[in-house]
Structures are given as structure tokens and as C-alpha cells.
Amino acid sequence: MIPIPFSGRVSESCYHHSMNKVRGMDDALAPICDGMRVMVAGFMTVGTPLGLIEALTTRGPRHLTVVCSDAGTPGKGAGMLVDANMVDTFIGSHVGLNPRIGERMAAETMNVHLVPQGTLAERIRCAGAGLGGFFTPTGAGTEWAEGKECRTINGKSYVFENPLPGDVALIRAHRADASGNCIFRKSARNFNPLMAMACQYVVVEADIVEEHPLDPDQVMLPGVFVDAVVHRKEMAHGC
């Protein structure tokens, strides 16, 4: 299997150790540099932090590896980073609704690694949970399993999959508090909590930044996984 770059270069100084994690856009995106592996949450742009992505395109880090469930649609979601020529490698489960990705695949100007969606989710979860991989029945006995460790467990065929960590996660929450605790809304949750747990530096774009702490019983992503919270309203002012 071709190794996919993972810089691990988010330096200690990038981390905000302050208890109040609410940041301005420039501050929040400053640690993102060339060559990093950036996870973009969301499914078909639902649950995708569109404001963070737009602001990132103006900052323009290059040679990124982007991990996203799908390539979104042209001009929206992770596809925006591709359009801005910031992406060398795309890892996702579906790119069919963004023809611009297909063009780049055909022209070989971008590497595309397609991964079954459940395997992608679990590889990310695994990285966040500090595990070294897992055996899944998905793809057993198909071309997908070729070159991978296969094992029969209780009479059933399984394929070994590696964890997939990231440098940076771009997350969208409905509500967040200053501690970074997040609540997601409806089907916008999808990859958000998983990617936040799997990355070294995590930025949340929140529709609402609560003045008071969220009810601890309602929190879906613990703030310990979050480094910066940007209020969606802030994005209207440009960055």
C-alpha cells in the first residue's frame, strides 16, 4: 500500500492551553501549514464547516492531504479546497457528485484513495481511540483486500485495516461552549466527533457559541478534543 503523507508537524506551540477556546478565525487557522493531513467533517456538505473551509482557501496552505467522507459538490465543501489547488491527495468514500475530482483523477493531478465508508469511519475512530487497527468483514475476498492481512475469525473472513490519524480536523457543531464542548444537530453529526478525536489540532465552527457552559449530560463531543472554537457569525466579517 502506498504510504499517505501524515506530517505530524503540528507543534506544541500550536496548542492553546487557555481554558477559553473561543478564537478569531485567523488565530484558529494559523497552525494549518503546507503538507498537512486535514480532515474535513460532514457528509455531502451537511455537517461540514463551510466557513472554515472558505477562510482556509484564502490562507492557501498547499500540498494538503484531505480526508472527507465525500468530495461534496463543485464549489462547496471539501471540493472547494480541491478547486483552489490546495490538495495533493484526497481520501474519501465517494467522489461521484463532484465531476472536478474525476477530471483531476483522470489527469493524474491529484491522488484519490477511495475507502469504504464504514471502514473510513472506523479507521478514524480507531486513530482517535489510540488503537492499532481492526479486522472488518468489509471487502473480504475482493480486490480491496489484496495485499492486506486477512484472517478467518470464527469461520468468517476479515480484512485488517490501519488507523487513520490526522494533523488537523475542521469540525462543525451546532452549539459549543468556551471549553470546546460540542452538540451536533440532526444528520450533521456524521464524521464530526470521530475526526475531532483523531486529529492533533481541532477547530470547531459553531452556529452558536454559548455564553454559559453546555449541560454536561448533553455534550456529544468532549471539549478535551477541541483546541479552538470559532463562532459562525465571525465569518460574515471576512478574514
Binding site: 457528509f43 451537511v46 469511519a121 440532526k186 444528520s187
Partner: protein, 217 residues
């Protein structure tokens, strides 16, 4: 009744009250419109919820609520949302009773090829490989032949496989074919078609029992 409606209606007859079901994009989605009276099922949407309801009315569209086909959706009372890892735990962990999906090819060994035509169509597999490997029962919804009239039920799939040996039931506009003991058995035909015609339009070897049921509509 057109071919797709016939396939959807016939598959709906395979679903039982209380089952958790995932319907693929396109034709499989139509199955929900044909559920027999008294049969209530719970639909899973692999992007992260169970309790998928009908399309929203205009004015009731919520931009945070879509189905796995990226269309605006609704959630029924009793449904709930979860993250993608939980969603695929439901699928692989044995909770999903049935998945219904379309295919490019399916073969005698129950192999399914539905996600890639190398060099032509490379959209990605999405959740299809997980759904085939994980669901308790895999129902393939497909027209009997492709647009050029070539059989889609083959001796061996030629395209890269989505899943090996996972197809349990194949429903076409002409026939219902079940995988029993590692073989494909013709269990039902449409009223307007003969067994001979089905065999002629099928590349795979089909077992033909002495009695082949006739579809009831």
C-alpha cells in the same frame, strides 16, 4: 407497471413488520412506497440515523437533515441520530435485517459488483461494501438485463467486486432468484414471461424447481 415499479413492489413483499432496513439510492428507495398493509419497517440512513421518513414538504426542509443520497429528508417519531462509526456498527454488527441495493453485475456465487467500471465510472463505493458485508440479508434490485439487453446475472462477475458471496436474493422485473445452498434457484417468474425466456436472458446457471411460482401482480 414499469420494470422498476414491479421490482420495488415485489421486494416490498419480502420485508417483515419491525425490520430495520437500508434502502440504496435510486430504485431501492422506491421499495418504501409499496410496503404491504400492516407492515411497518424502520429505515436506516447510513449517514447517521434510523427512522428515515418521507421527503419533506416545501417549507419544511432542514439543511441539517439529508438521507444517504443527499436529498432532504425527515425523521419519524422514535428515530434518532448518531455518528458514522455508530451507523456502520449497526450495519456490520448484525442489527440491520435487510439491505436493498442495485447492481451492475451479480453472479452464481452471490458476488456483487456495483461500484466501479474501471476507466469509466469511478464514483467510489460509499457504504455499499459495508452494507453488503454487514446486513443479515442482501437483496439485489436490478433489471434482468442491461440497457443493451446483455444479462446482468452472470456466471462470474467481470467487474471488481463490492462483496464476495453476499447476495441472498435477486429480484428483477422478470424473476425472483434465491441463493440456496450455494446455487441460484429460480423461485418465481413474472406472469408475462416463461421460464425458458428467463433462462435465455440469464448467463448464470439457474436451478429450476418443478414448480416455479408466478408473481401475484
Amino acid at each position: 407497471m414499469d420494470a422498476k415499479a414491479a421490482i420495488a413492489r415485489r421486494i416490498a413483499m419480502e420485508l417483515h413488520d419491525g425490520q430495520l432496513v437500508n434502502l440504496g439510492i435510486g430504485l431501492p428507495t422506491m421499495v418504501a412506497d409499496y410496503l404491504p398493509e400492516g407492515v411497518e419497517i424502520l429505515l436506516q440512513s447510513e449517514n447517521g440515523f434510523v427512522g428515515l421518513g418521507p421527503s419533506p414538504q416545501e417549507g419544511e426542509i432542514d439543511e441539517d437533515l439529508i438521507n444517504a443520497g443527499a436529498q432532504s429528508a425527515t425523521i419519524l417519531d422514535g428515530g434518532c441520530f448518531f455518528d458514522s462509526a455508530t451507523s456502520f456498527a449497526i450495519i456490520r454488527g448484525g442489527r440491520l435485517d435487510v439491505t436493498v441495493l442495485g447492481t451492475l453485475e451479480v453472479d452464481e456465487e452471490g458476488n456483487i459488483a456495483n461500484y466501479i467500471i474501471p476507466g469509466k465510472i469511478v464514483p467510489g463505493m460509499g457504504g455499499a461494501m459495508d452494507l453488503c458485508a454487514g446486513a443479515q440479508r442482501v437483496v439485489v434490485a436490478t433489471t434482468h438485463c442491461d440497457r443493451r439487453g446483455n444479462p446482468k446475472i452472470l456466471q462470474r462477475c467481470r467487474l471488481p467486486l463490492t462483496a464476495r458471496g453476499e447476495a441472498d436474493l435477486i429480484v428483477t422485473e422478470l424473476a425472483v432468484i434465491e441463493r440456496q445452498g450455494g446455487k441460484l434457484v429460480l423461485v418465481e417468474r413474472a406472469p408475462e414471461v416463461s421460464v425458458e425466456e428467463i433462462l435465455q436472458k440469464t448467463e448464470a446457471t439457474l436451478e429450476v424447481p418443478s414448480e416455479v411460482a408466478v408473481r401475484s401482480f
